[in-house]
Symmetry: C2
Subunit: 160 residues, 2 copies
DNA sequence: CCCATATATTTTAAGCTTGAAATAAATCCG
DNA sequence: CGGATTTATTTCAAGCTTAAAATATATGGG
Protein backbone atom coordinates (compact mmCIF):
# COMPACT_ATOMS: atom_id res chain seq x y z
CA UNK A 1 0.00 0.00 0.00
CA UNK A 2 1.27 3.41 -1.10
CA UNK A 3 0.19 5.87 1.56
CA UNK A 4 1.58 8.95 3.30
CA UNK A 5 4.94 9.08 1.63
CA UNK A 6 7.48 11.96 1.84
CA UNK A 7 4.93 14.81 1.60
CA UNK A 8 7.03 16.70 -0.89
CA UNK A 9 6.65 17.25 -4.58
CA UNK A 10 3.34 15.43 -4.77
CA UNK A 11 -0.06 16.98 -5.42
CA UNK A 12 -1.17 17.19 -1.80
CA UNK A 13 2.05 18.96 -0.99
CA UNK A 14 1.39 21.59 -3.67
CA UNK A 15 -2.17 22.07 -2.46
CA UNK A 16 -0.95 22.61 1.10
CA UNK A 17 1.60 25.12 -0.14
CA UNK A 18 -1.16 27.04 -1.91
CA UNK A 19 -3.22 26.92 1.27
CA UNK A 20 -0.33 28.40 3.23
CA UNK A 21 0.11 31.22 0.74
CA UNK A 22 -3.59 31.99 0.92
CA UNK A 23 -3.54 31.98 4.68
CA UNK A 24 -0.62 34.37 4.66
CA UNK A 25 -2.29 36.73 2.23
CA UNK A 26 -5.54 36.73 4.16
CA UNK A 27 -3.67 37.43 7.34
CA UNK A 28 -1.78 40.34 5.81
CA UNK A 29 -4.89 41.83 4.36
CA UNK A 30 -6.75 41.70 7.66
CA UNK A 31 -3.81 42.97 9.68
CA UNK A 32 -3.27 45.88 7.33
CA UNK A 33 -6.86 46.95 7.73
CA UNK A 34 -6.93 46.54 11.50
CA UNK A 35 -3.60 48.32 11.92
CA UNK A 36 -4.84 51.24 9.86
CA UNK A 37 -8.04 51.56 11.89
CA UNK A 38 -6.27 51.27 15.23
CA UNK A 39 -3.78 53.88 14.17
CA UNK A 40 -6.11 56.48 12.69
CA UNK A 41 -9.03 56.04 15.04
CA UNK A 42 -7.23 55.29 18.31
CA UNK A 43 -3.56 56.12 17.84
CA UNK A 44 -2.78 52.55 18.84
CA UNK A 45 -1.16 49.48 17.32
CA UNK A 46 -1.93 45.81 16.84
CA UNK A 47 0.71 44.50 19.27
CA UNK A 48 -0.58 46.80 22.00
CA UNK A 49 -4.13 45.74 21.30
CA UNK A 50 -3.12 42.10 21.53
CA UNK A 51 -1.52 42.62 24.93
CA UNK A 52 -4.51 44.56 26.25
CA UNK A 53 -6.80 41.86 24.94
CA UNK A 54 -4.89 39.08 26.67
CA UNK A 55 -4.85 41.04 29.92
CA UNK A 56 -8.54 41.77 29.64
CA UNK A 57 -9.24 38.05 29.72
CA UNK A 58 -7.28 37.74 32.98
CA UNK A 59 -8.44 40.39 35.40
CA UNK A 60 -5.93 39.21 37.97
CA UNK A 61 -3.14 39.91 35.47
CA UNK A 62 -0.53 37.77 33.72
CA UNK A 63 3.17 37.25 34.18
CA UNK A 64 5.49 38.42 31.45
CA UNK A 65 6.18 34.84 30.49
CA UNK A 66 2.48 33.98 30.38
CA UNK A 67 1.84 36.96 28.12
CA UNK A 68 4.68 35.87 25.91
CA UNK A 69 3.26 32.36 25.66
CA UNK A 70 -0.36 33.35 25.04
CA UNK A 71 0.62 35.82 22.32
CA UNK A 72 3.22 33.48 20.83
CA UNK A 73 5.89 36.17 20.76
CA UNK A 74 9.31 36.33 22.38
CA UNK A 75 9.94 37.42 25.96
CA UNK A 76 11.96 40.44 24.96
CA UNK A 77 9.21 41.56 22.66
CA UNK A 78 6.66 41.63 25.47
CA UNK A 79 9.04 43.67 27.60
CA UNK A 80 9.03 46.48 25.05
CA UNK A 81 5.30 46.53 24.38
CA UNK A 82 4.45 46.47 28.07
CA UNK A 83 6.91 49.31 28.65
CA UNK A 84 4.99 51.50 26.25
CA UNK A 85 1.65 50.50 27.70
CA UNK A 86 2.93 51.40 31.16
CA UNK A 87 4.00 54.78 29.82
CA UNK A 88 0.50 55.20 28.41
CA UNK A 89 -0.98 54.39 31.81
CA UNK A 90 -2.91 51.43 30.41
CA UNK A 91 -1.21 48.71 32.46
CA UNK A 92 0.83 48.34 35.65
CA UNK A 93 3.60 45.96 36.61
CA UNK A 94 3.14 44.34 40.01
CA UNK A 95 5.83 42.35 41.79
CA UNK A 96 4.76 38.77 42.45
CA UNK A 97 5.17 37.94 46.07
CA UNK A 98 7.01 34.73 46.71
CA UNK A 99 9.05 35.17 43.52
CA UNK A 100 11.16 38.26 43.22
CA UNK A 101 12.13 37.45 39.64
CA UNK A 102 8.58 37.59 38.33
CA UNK A 103 6.25 40.42 37.39
CA UNK A 104 2.51 40.39 36.99
CA UNK A 105 1.09 42.79 34.43
CA UNK A 106 -2.44 44.06 34.82
CA UNK A 107 -4.82 46.50 33.20
CA UNK A 108 -5.31 49.77 35.06
CA UNK A 109 -8.84 51.06 35.42
CA UNK A 110 -8.05 53.49 32.65
CA UNK A 111 -6.57 50.76 30.46
CA UNK A 112 -9.57 48.58 31.04
CA UNK A 113 -11.96 51.29 29.95
CA UNK A 114 -9.78 52.13 26.97
CA UNK A 115 -9.73 48.50 25.91
CA UNK A 116 -13.49 48.20 26.09
CA UNK A 117 -13.83 51.02 23.60
CA UNK A 118 -11.21 49.51 21.28
CA UNK A 119 -12.61 46.00 21.50
CA UNK A 120 -16.11 47.04 20.54
CA UNK A 121 -14.86 48.65 17.35
CA UNK A 122 -12.41 45.86 16.71
CA UNK A 123 -15.10 43.23 16.70
CA UNK A 124 -17.01 45.22 14.11
CA UNK A 125 -13.97 45.62 11.87
CA UNK A 126 -13.19 41.93 12.00
CA UNK A 127 -16.77 40.97 11.42
CA UNK A 128 -16.88 43.18 8.33
CA UNK A 129 -13.64 41.76 6.97
CA UNK A 130 -14.95 38.24 7.44
CA UNK A 131 -18.43 39.21 6.36
CA UNK A 132 -18.48 36.64 3.57
CA UNK A 133 -18.67 33.85 6.16
CA UNK A 134 -21.88 33.21 8.04
CA UNK A 135 -21.75 31.94 11.58
CA UNK A 136 -21.64 28.27 10.61
CA UNK A 137 -18.90 28.69 8.04
CA UNK A 138 -16.80 30.76 10.40
CA UNK A 139 -17.07 28.11 13.08
CA UNK A 140 -16.26 25.32 10.68
CA UNK A 141 -13.20 27.09 9.31
CA UNK A 142 -12.00 27.97 12.78
CA UNK A 143 -12.33 24.35 13.82
CA UNK A 144 -10.28 23.18 10.89
CA UNK A 145 -7.57 25.71 11.53
CA UNK A 146 -7.40 24.72 15.15
CA UNK A 147 -5.26 21.71 14.43
CA UNK A 148 -2.51 23.86 12.98
CA UNK A 149 -2.16 26.27 15.84
CA UNK A 150 -1.98 23.43 18.32
CA UNK A 151 1.44 22.87 19.69
CA UNK A 152 2.95 19.47 18.91
CA UNK A 153 0.55 18.54 16.17
CA UNK A 154 2.62 16.51 13.77
CA UNK A 155 -0.48 14.38 13.57
CA UNK A 156 0.92 11.15 14.84
CA UNK A 157 4.05 11.40 12.74
CA UNK A 158 7.44 11.15 14.39
CA UNK A 159 9.19 14.34 15.51
CA UNK A 160 11.38 16.15 13.04
CA UNK B 1 -37.18 40.81 7.08
CA UNK B 2 -34.34 40.95 9.55
CA UNK B 3 -31.15 40.23 7.64
CA UNK B 4 -27.53 41.39 7.63
CA UNK B 5 -27.73 43.98 10.35
CA UNK B 6 -24.78 45.75 12.05
CA UNK B 7 -22.39 42.77 12.18
CA UNK B 8 -21.38 43.58 15.73
CA UNK B 9 -22.23 41.99 19.03
CA UNK B 10 -24.26 39.21 17.43
CA UNK B 11 -23.37 35.55 17.26
CA UNK B 12 -21.97 35.58 13.73
CA UNK B 13 -19.73 38.45 14.71
CA UNK B 14 -18.32 36.47 17.64
CA UNK B 15 -17.76 33.45 15.45
CA UNK B 16 -15.87 35.56 12.92
CA UNK B 17 -13.76 37.02 15.68
CA UNK B 18 -12.85 33.51 16.84
CA UNK B 19 -12.02 32.61 13.26
CA UNK B 20 -9.67 35.58 13.04
CA UNK B 21 -7.92 34.63 16.26
CA UNK B 22 -7.47 31.08 15.00
CA UNK B 23 -6.12 32.27 11.69
CA UNK B 24 -3.63 34.48 13.48
CA UNK B 25 -2.49 31.69 15.76
CA UNK B 26 -2.08 29.25 12.90
CA UNK B 27 -0.12 31.82 10.97
CA UNK B 28 2.20 32.52 13.90
CA UNK B 29 2.78 28.86 14.52
CA UNK B 30 3.69 28.18 10.90
CA UNK B 31 5.85 31.26 10.56
CA UNK B 32 7.75 30.44 13.73
CA UNK B 33 8.56 26.99 12.40
CA UNK B 34 9.54 28.18 8.92
CA UNK B 35 11.64 31.03 10.30
CA UNK B 36 13.50 28.63 12.56
CA UNK B 37 14.24 26.22 9.73
CA UNK B 38 15.33 28.94 7.32
CA UNK B 39 17.60 30.40 9.97
CA UNK B 40 19.26 27.24 11.23
CA UNK B 41 19.46 25.33 7.96
CA UNK B 42 20.10 28.16 5.51
CA UNK B 43 21.03 31.25 7.48
CA UNK B 44 18.15 33.03 5.78
CA UNK B 45 14.88 34.72 6.77
CA UNK B 46 11.24 34.62 5.80
CA UNK B 47 11.12 38.09 4.20
CA UNK B 48 14.12 37.25 2.04
CA UNK B 49 12.58 33.96 1.05
CA UNK B 50 9.36 35.73 0.10
CA UNK B 51 11.22 38.14 -2.16
CA UNK B 52 13.22 35.37 -3.80
CA UNK B 53 10.03 33.40 -4.30
CA UNK B 54 8.26 36.29 -6.00
CA UNK B 55 11.24 36.91 -8.25
CA UNK B 56 11.49 33.26 -9.10
CA UNK B 57 7.98 33.41 -10.56
CA UNK B 58 9.05 36.28 -12.82
CA UNK B 59 12.29 35.40 -14.59
CA UNK B 60 12.33 38.78 -16.27
CA UNK B 61 12.34 40.45 -12.86
CA UNK B 62 9.97 42.78 -11.04
CA UNK B 63 10.00 46.47 -10.26
CA UNK B 64 10.30 47.53 -6.66
CA UNK B 65 6.68 48.64 -6.67
CA UNK B 66 5.51 45.34 -8.15
CA UNK B 67 7.41 43.43 -5.49
CA UNK B 68 5.86 45.62 -2.85
CA UNK B 69 2.38 44.96 -4.20
CA UNK B 70 2.77 41.20 -4.67
CA UNK B 71 4.15 40.75 -1.17
CA UNK B 72 1.70 43.20 0.38
CA UNK B 73 4.40 45.09 2.22
CA UNK B 74 5.45 48.73 2.06
CA UNK B 75 7.79 50.18 -0.53
CA UNK B 76 10.43 51.13 1.98
CA UNK B 77 10.38 47.64 3.37
CA UNK B 78 11.23 46.13 0.01
CA UNK B 79 14.11 48.56 -0.39
CA UNK B 80 15.80 47.18 2.70
CA UNK B 81 15.28 43.51 1.97
CA UNK B 82 16.47 43.85 -1.61
CA UNK B 83 19.53 45.73 -0.38
CA UNK B 84 20.52 42.74 1.73
CA UNK B 85 19.82 40.29 -1.06
CA UNK B 86 22.01 42.36 -3.36
CA UNK B 87 24.77 42.23 -0.76
CA UNK B 88 24.32 38.45 -0.66
CA UNK B 89 24.67 38.29 -4.43
CA UNK B 90 21.23 36.70 -4.79
CA UNK B 91 19.60 39.48 -6.83
CA UNK B 92 20.58 42.42 -9.01
CA UNK B 93 18.97 45.77 -9.58
CA UNK B 94 18.66 46.74 -13.24
CA UNK B 95 17.70 50.22 -14.43
CA UNK B 96 14.52 50.20 -16.49
CA UNK B 97 15.09 51.86 -19.79
CA UNK B 98 12.53 54.46 -20.63
CA UNK B 99 11.99 55.30 -16.96
CA UNK B 100 14.95 56.49 -14.95
CA UNK B 101 12.97 56.41 -11.70
CA UNK B 102 12.29 52.71 -11.83
CA UNK B 103 14.36 49.66 -11.00
CA UNK B 104 13.85 46.08 -12.02
CA UNK B 105 15.03 43.45 -9.54
CA UNK B 106 16.02 40.04 -10.75
CA UNK B 107 17.50 36.82 -9.46
CA UNK B 108 21.14 36.25 -10.27
CA UNK B 109 22.16 32.80 -11.47
CA UNK B 110 23.49 32.18 -8.00
CA UNK B 111 20.30 33.45 -6.38
CA UNK B 112 18.22 31.29 -8.62
CA UNK B 113 20.13 28.19 -7.72
CA UNK B 114 20.04 29.12 -4.04
CA UNK B 115 16.30 29.60 -4.19
CA UNK B 116 15.73 26.22 -5.80
CA UNK B 117 17.44 24.55 -2.87
CA UNK B 118 15.44 26.57 -0.34
CA UNK B 119 12.13 26.08 -2.11
CA UNK B 120 12.43 22.31 -2.20
CA UNK B 121 12.89 22.16 1.55
CA UNK B 122 10.31 24.84 2.15
CA UNK B 123 7.60 22.87 0.38
CA UNK B 124 8.35 19.91 2.59
CA UNK B 125 8.20 21.95 5.78
CA UNK B 126 4.88 23.48 4.82
CA UNK B 127 3.47 20.17 3.75
CA UNK B 128 4.40 18.67 7.10
CA UNK B 129 2.87 21.56 9.03
CA UNK B 130 -0.34 21.23 7.07
CA UNK B 131 -0.16 17.47 7.06
CA UNK B 132 -3.55 17.11 8.71
CA UNK B 133 -5.22 18.30 5.50
CA UNK B 134 -5.41 16.03 2.51
CA UNK B 135 -5.31 17.50 -0.96
CA UNK B 136 -9.04 18.06 -1.20
CA UNK B 137 -9.34 19.73 2.17
CA UNK B 138 -6.38 21.98 1.51
CA UNK B 139 -7.90 23.10 -1.78
CA UNK B 140 -11.27 23.69 -0.24
CA UNK B 141 -9.86 25.74 2.62
CA UNK B 142 -7.68 27.75 0.28
CA UNK B 143 -10.68 28.52 -1.87
CA UNK B 144 -12.66 29.74 1.10
CA UNK B 145 -9.83 31.94 2.28
CA UNK B 146 -9.43 33.42 -1.16
CA UNK B 147 -12.29 35.83 -0.68
CA UNK B 148 -10.56 37.49 2.26
CA UNK B 149 -7.28 38.20 0.61
CA UNK B 150 -8.98 39.74 -2.40
CA UNK B 151 -8.68 43.46 -2.54
CA UNK B 152 -11.94 45.38 -2.33
CA UNK B 153 -14.05 42.53 -1.05
CA UNK B 154 -16.61 44.18 1.16
CA UNK B 155 -18.97 41.68 -0.37
CA UNK B 156 -21.35 44.08 -1.97
CA UNK B 157 -21.64 46.27 1.10
CA UNK B 158 -20.97 49.98 0.84
CA UNK B 159 -17.46 51.28 1.53
CA UNK B 160 -16.50 52.09 5.09
C1' DC C 1 8.43 74.95 -23.53
C1' DC C 2 7.00 75.24 -18.57
C1' DC C 3 4.56 74.34 -14.71
C1' DA C 4 1.60 71.44 -11.99
C1' DT C 5 0.68 67.07 -10.80
C1' DA C 6 1.52 62.27 -10.62
C1' DT C 7 4.55 58.23 -10.13
C1' DA C 8 8.71 55.30 -8.56
C1' DT C 9 11.74 54.87 -5.27
C1' DT C 10 14.60 55.92 -1.11
C1' DT C 11 15.20 57.86 3.30
C1' DT C 12 13.92 58.51 7.97
C1' DA C 13 12.11 57.88 12.62
C1' DA C 14 9.70 55.03 15.43
C1' DG C 15 8.17 50.83 16.77
C1' DC C 16 8.07 45.67 16.40
C1' DT C 17 10.45 41.20 16.50
C1' DT C 18 13.78 37.80 17.16
C1' DG C 19 17.60 34.99 19.26
C1' DA C 20 21.23 35.24 22.30
C1' DA C 21 23.57 37.03 26.21
C1' DA C 22 23.19 38.96 30.70
C1' DT C 23 20.97 39.38 35.39
C1' DA C 24 18.84 37.93 39.10
C1' DA C 25 16.44 34.91 41.88
C1' DA C 26 14.65 30.22 42.94
C1' DT C 27 15.33 25.31 43.31
C1' DC C 28 17.81 20.98 43.57
C1' DC C 29 20.77 17.91 45.60
C1' DG C 30 24.86 16.19 47.78
C1' DC D 1 24.35 24.79 53.92
C1' DG D 2 26.34 25.72 49.31
C1' DG D 3 27.35 25.10 44.60
C1' DA D 4 25.09 23.79 40.23
C1' DT D 5 21.22 24.20 37.57
C1' DT D 6 16.93 26.07 36.22
C1' DT D 7 13.60 29.75 35.66
C1' DA D 8 11.88 34.73 34.91
C1' DT D 9 12.94 38.65 32.98
C1' DT D 10 15.67 42.30 30.67
C1' DT D 11 19.12 43.88 27.57
C1' DC D 12 21.23 43.91 23.21
C1' DA D 13 22.22 43.86 18.25
C1' DA D 14 20.33 43.06 14.03
C1' DG D 15 16.78 42.92 11.02
C1' DC D 16 11.86 43.81 9.72
C1' DT D 17 7.96 46.99 9.15
C1' DT D 18 5.32 50.98 8.67
C1' DA D 19 3.90 55.83 7.52
C1' DA D 20 5.48 59.99 6.12
C1' DA D 21 8.80 63.01 4.04
C1' DA D 22 12.16 63.63 0.56
C1' DT D 23 14.05 62.92 -4.15
C1' DA D 24 13.94 62.30 -8.69
C1' DT D 25 11.73 61.66 -12.85
C1' DA D 26 7.68 61.48 -15.94
C1' DT D 27 3.42 63.24 -17.84
C1' DG D 28 -0.26 66.39 -18.99
C1' DG D 29 -2.15 70.86 -20.18
C1' DG D 30 -1.62 75.55 -21.25
Amino acid sequence: MTAELPAKGNKASKARLRLWLRLLKAQRRVEAELREKLRTEFGSTLPRFDVLSALNRSPEGLRMSELSEVLMVSNGNVTGIVERLVADGAVIRIPVDGDRRAMRVRLTEQGSEYFRRLAAEHEGWVSDLFGMFDEGEAEQLAARLHSISDKRNTNGKADR
